[in-house]
Amino acid sequence: MKHLSRIYTAIIMIFLFAPIAVLLVFSFNGANSLSVMSGFSLHWYRELLRDSNTLISLRNTLVLALSSAFIATVMGTGAAVGIDKLRSRTALTVYDTVTNIPMTNPDIITGISLMLMFVFTGRLIGSTSSLNFATMLIAHITFCLPYVILQVLPRLSQMDRALPEAAMDLGCTPVRAFFKVVFPEIMPGVLTGLIMSFTLSVDDFVISYFTAGNGFETLPIRIYSMTKKTVTPKMYALATIIFFTIMALLIINNVMSDDQRAQARERRKARLPMSSTADMLTDAETVASPAKGRSRKLSDRGKLAVVACLIAVCLLLIIVPPALIDSDMQTLNVYNWGEYIADGSEEFMDVVSEFEDWYYDNYGRRVNVNYTTYATNEDMYAKLKSGAVSYDVIVPSDYMIARLIEEDMLLEIDFGNIPNYENIGEEYRYLYFDPEARYSVPYIYNINAIIYDANVVDEEDAQGWDLLWNPKYAGKILQYNNPRDAFGTAMYKLGIDANTTDPDEWNRALEELLRQRPLVKAYVMDEVFNLMESGEAAIACYYGGDYFLMSDAASEDVDLQLYYPDPTCYFMDSMCIPSCCQNKELAEIFINFLLEEDVAVQNAEYISYSSPNVLVQESEEYADYMGEEAMEALYPEIDDFTELYNANSFRNQDSATMDLMNSLWEALKIQ
């Protein structure tokens, strides 16, 4: 029996820690892959330390968790004290029900409900940034509160009710009586509530996703928006550091409580040792507790130590990236795709901080760039449309720019502030979405390509869109996990205009995708990297420039190749200034900065898509870095780019077509 239970415990532990072991190991990967391990290196740890945006998002996560846990604990403890004294059954039932709501409601509903309220009231009072740090804080406090209350309440009911009265008989005020008598009694519950709130807040993604606003990006949001590019081992390195920090805290805590226990044993007072983060999530009276009196105080001290360490770590983190509270400081809110700017990793420039320094040198004022990221055009649009955020620079794709212009959500750019605009090639300036070049400055463009593993795919099959439908490679084919691109592949194959509004043509495309479904291994976005690199999949349609990132990290027995089917889709992501912009001139200066030769080269190398910047295209350093093959693939010989682009890019859809597309997409997905 004893052995059996040991073995069982071991199995559960292996299950719980297997993924953690994986991320620990892969954080030391020499290559940029989460599935192919090649060599041991500390590379990703160095990268992490250089990536100021990720560090800031870590700091934000901790600040948010700490402040919401603290506020929730204070308010929740007060609430528990009050609820404990309620005598009316009805009142108790009401409080019970309301308190249970955030716990028994799915996260997604809590998130959506708060988001709807913030957006609605924000619009009512005409606020342009009603989603911000405060709303995330409110959301986190709201879902932490019930846990605190449910921890403290049982402690209160165990307490001798005569105690506070006695204290007051002896002349204490109610407040003093609370702190002198009640608080020490309920302390373990309060601390457990605090630690639990902190844990839940750190781990939360869903509620943050819906309530996040501009200028305050937490770690989960950042990771989620890496969906277009890839989640790098850098994130694993971060998780590993978090893991060891927690371990260290726990060990310190254990040693400390061991000390205390030893002392206590000497004094023959401790009866039952218990402590630490351990009793999180259980309700307070757990752990077979005759542990009243002294031994409980031991556990308190252990927990206090953990809390103190947490606070210390967080304070350090808050201080490390120097948050200069400068009255003269300006803020620039930039909202870009995940992994879409050189961020100081590898040998790259940290463009954002470079800009901050450059601006200070040239204008003598500090500027703080709040750089946040999104995963899709639609995510960005949803936030912008809610009217609850305020960004100064955004980088949407073509069809989204058309929609934003149509809905009057962009400002005309003053090109007088952007002298570097002349670096943009003439043929990239007047594309269909902004034919007079008034609202947008091209940032980066690319062509949808088909990437395949030449060790699996026969040479003669590797052409056109048919490859994605070739039954020979069933189970090896990847398709986009977003409706617009996926339907696009089917329409190109069928020779339908990808911008059709004809429902019949959309239904034909759906049929084509349904025919493809049994052959498809997975519907993917960023997962495409791992699946192609490891050889799990052999055929994918993806953005051409990503091919180079993949083939760099591919495993040895995988030989990735690329070709452009005809016709295929071109896309251009351009910098725009949304109408909610607070500092238009600064936004223009920032855009201008991104067009500087060295900055644009760095970004083009980092993103590995094609640059519309002539200086980049002509740069020898850039050509050397990318290599001949890449240059040919990224900049195929094109007579009239504007014409080709206008004929082969996604247009803004009317809402009926968009609705149709979404329901057809659901139809594909629920088969």
Partner: protein, 299 residues
């Protein structure tokens, strides 16, 4: 009772103080728990220009999709009903697996000595500090066709198994992420059980299984109910796990809500959320009613 007079005033004082302590929470709960839910209902029953409509609600129940079955025949199914039932099925499987896996470990923990209890508890909590997204991502590396499991299998000469993208993978992800939510409530009731009761049952001739069935299980029911609630609810509404581990082939109710949100169809997203909320409330209500008042709430 012969209380001195001063007590009355003091008691009033105390009550006033307690009311004051409760006030911030009351305001907060009303403003940020109750009112937002009203907003969900408001959006669910209005159209884009905030005119009252049943459109969104009825769309949930009536929207249909053609599906082709294996033999080529075409059936018409109710889109969102099917999506909901699928989510419920996966969530129910995950919850059951969590219960089966978590029950013994909770029992083992509750019966170990205090030091081991404490360590095990901490160990179970640790993964929660690493972000949910990263943990889920790491499972891809384990489950994929060239992943760790399959490399292990081929190393010992067994044929590989295809896990990623199947229902199993999604269930593994859910079980992994929500297992602690099952273990902890179970453990907390089991730790409170009186060992003497178990010994008594054995003394009176109960077999091991008998003790489990007649003593341990009935006593642990409140923990079981709590555990089921804590696992079922997040797993029914998840959208990240199904996207990453299901190869994008499992479209769950959470995906539907998120999809409508990103398509900027807030009113329909709210309608799905509203219906999901009502259905879950009914589920929970039934469960509570079945188990009477064994569940320890505030009241």
């Amino acid at each position: 009772m012969g209380r001195p007079r001063g007590d009355n005033a003091m008691e009033k004082n105390l009550i006033r103080a307690d009311r004051t302590a409760l006030a911030p929470y009351t305001a907060w709960a009303a403003l940020f728990i109750v009112v937002p839910l009203a907003f969900v209902a408001y959006y669910a029953f209005t159209d884009a220009s905030f005119n009252f409509t049943f459109e969104n609600i009825s769309r949930f129940f009536t929207a249909t999709t053609q599906t082709a079955s294996e033999d080529g025949s075409v059936r018409e199914i109710r889109t969102y009903i099917v999506i909901f039932m699928r989510s419920l099925k996966l969530a129910a499987i995950s919850t059951a697996v969590c219960l089966v896996m978590g029950y013994p470990i909770a029992y083992i923990m509750a019966r170990s000595d205090a030091r081991v209890q404490k360590t095990l508890m901490t160990v179970i909590m640790i993964p929660m500090w690493m972000n949910f997204l990263i943990r889920t991502y790491a499972w891809i590396t384990i489950l994929q066709d060239t992943g760790l499991i399959n490399r292990l299998l081929s190393a010992v000469g067994l044929s590989p198994v295809h896990i990623i993208g199947t229902q199993t993978a999604v269930v593994v992800g859910m079980v992994y992420d929500y297992l602690p939510y099952m273990i902890l409530p179970l453990y907390s009731v089991m730790a409170k059980m009186d060992v003497k009761l178990l010994e008594a049952a054995q003394d009176l001739g109960c077999s091991g299984l008998g003790v489990l069935r007649r003593v341990i299980w009935p006593l642990s029911v409140p923990g079981v109910i709590n555990g089921i609630t804590m696992v079922l609810i997040p797993s029914i509404s998840t959208f990240y796990i199904s996207q990453k581990l299901g190869d994008g082939k499992f479209f769950l109710i959470g995906d539907a809500i998120e999809g409508q949100y990103t398509a900027n169809n807030l009113h329909f997203a709210a309608a799905i959320a509203f219906i999901l909320m009502i259905l879950l409330l009914i589920c929970m209500g039934v469960m509570r009613w079945l188990t009477d008042k064994k569940r320890g709430g505030l009241a």
